[in-house]
Amino acid sequence: MKHVNTSVNIAGVTFSNPVIAASGTYGFGREYGNYVDLNKLGGISVKGLTLLPREGNMPPRIAETPSGMLNSVGLENPGVERFISDEIPFLSQYDLKTIVNVAGNSIEDYVNMTLKLNETSVDMLEINLSCPNVKHGCVSFGVSEQGVYEVTKAVKEVSKKPVIIKLTPNVTSIASIAYKAQDAGADGVSLINTITGMKINVKTRRPVLYNNTGGLSGPAIRPIAVRMVHEVYQAIDIPIIGMGGITCLSDALEFIIAGASAVMIGTYNFMNPYLCEQIVIDLIDYMKHNNIDNIKEMVGSLRLNG
């Protein structure tokens, strides 16, 4: 049987394939290890970490919406120290690459966490400038060009690991924001995080989520995400990891054709916990049947009309 090359290199890190579990949907990989062979995934971006442990928001933290869902988990996590002591040894057993999603209240937080993670075996940092469910930090940096520039610059100055910036779609021009991240030295960008939304219980006239608003994810946001990857691909030269409502290989290929070097699979893991591994299997089949030797041939291969 013909061999196809699914590996992708992003900022010096070689992923065996372009399928990565998205932050916040896959925990630290343990739970999904019961359903998939984690070795088969290209990588995992772990649950967003903060410097200190966080309890997250009050429930309800989830509301289903047409072809999507709102969440307002609010970065519940054990803190970076416990991640290092408890979770890295678990993830190190597997071939997949570990991306650490880093969420801070302040530039100092991002820098301090980067310094701690420098001394570990993780492969890459994903700087979270886009979580919409916390009062401080994250998206409040991510919505301004200056905020993105300052955090990226500060992290890059101290980081021994490749740094990608996770972008929010809740901006006027995601391409300008991505350009600023590149300008500040980012090694790549990942997009999109969730779109801020609200669902109202008409009987009580209250928002369904305790936090009032939440982040919309799932197939509902996919066309927006694909369009944004397309715009960002035209604006920058550093690699893009695309995500937003991927449910199957075909969805993943949309992102790759639009310009993503790799994709992240998020919300739909809840419906199908086997999904990440299934997409890898389907990708190999697809490449064999379509005589694509190397997945890189497809990245940014979009042919615009007119």
Binding site: E55, G56, F270, M271
Partner: protein, 254 residues
């Protein structure tokens, strides 16, 4: 690597909006015990992207049973499936009730659609006195009681509107009859659970309660079904749904 498929062997209306399904899947049936749940895909399009967690009512040989109340978009879709259809079901998930042969006297308390896991427990747990307390809103919503009688020593029934059994809440009837139980198993609306949990704690009676919270993944990864416990934040899908009464409904007492 195929998702677990469960074949619908039998479909029956228990009340005007509660549907009981007998499903065939050896693995799920084999691993089920009282208090665990399954996560069911309700439609094959991507309009609804979350599974619905439904507790297991019974399991034997290669079959298991669930009951769901038609109350929203997901369960409306689920109600369309007929005998012979294949359902996409993950499970069993979560941690259920535990039993000890040392118990001499136990109680089961179920309210409304919360009765299913405790009915399962009452059928499975043997070798002691078993009192069952079941509360429903009205006579029309009473279900599963006839078949339960043979499995318990006393069956206490209440309806909120007094149309059958004790008139009023099952919590009040339980307070009247409460005795030196070694263990009490509870599942029902949050207000009912809270009242019973706090009463039991005050009386130093042990208990286990099944909590409900909106879920995403159902396996402990997405963290949406959070609840405060005496050990910190826990997640209903993975750490529960069954918790020791010592650990939950702790807010007002500290």
């Amino acid at each position: 690597m195929n998702l677990l498929k469960s074949k619908i062997i039998e479909k029956k209306m228990l009340t005007h909006d509660n549907i009981r399904l007998v499903l065939e899947n050896k693995e799920i049936a084999g691993k089920s015990y009282p208090g665990v749940f399954v996560n069911v895909r309700c439609c094959h399009s991507d309009e609804l992207i979350l599974r619905r967690p439904i507790s297991v009512l019974d399991a034997y040989e290669d079959r298991y049973e669930i009951v769901f109340k038609v109350m929203g978009k997901g369960t409306e879709r689920l109600a369309y499936f007929e005998t012979g259809d294949l359902l996409d079901v993950l499970g069993p998930l979560g941690k259920g009730f535990t039993f000890s042969q040392n118990y001499r006297k136990v109680a089961f308390i179920g309210g409304g659609i919360g009765i299913f896991p405790v009915v399962y427990a009452a059928k499975q747990f043997h070798g002691c006195q078993k009192d069952f307390f079941a509360g429903f809103k009205t006579k029309e919503e009473i279900m599963l009681m006839e078949s339960l009688k043979q499995h318990v020593d006393h069956l206490y029934l209440s309806t909120d509107d007094g149309s059958e059994g004790y008139p009023g809440f099952i919590t009040d009837l339980f307070m009247e009859k409460m005795t030196d139980y070694d263990m009490v198993y509870i599942c029902g609306p949050a207000v009912m659970e809270e009242k019973i949990v706090k009463t039991l704690r005050k009386n130093k009676i042990k208990g286990q309660v099944s909590l409900e919270e909106r879920m995403g993944c159902g396996i402990g990864a997405c963290l949406v079904c959070a609840c405060k416990t005496s050990h910190g934040i826990r997640h209903v899908c993975k750490d529960g749904p069954v918790f020791d009464i010592e650990d939950v409904f702790i807010e007002d007492e500290k």
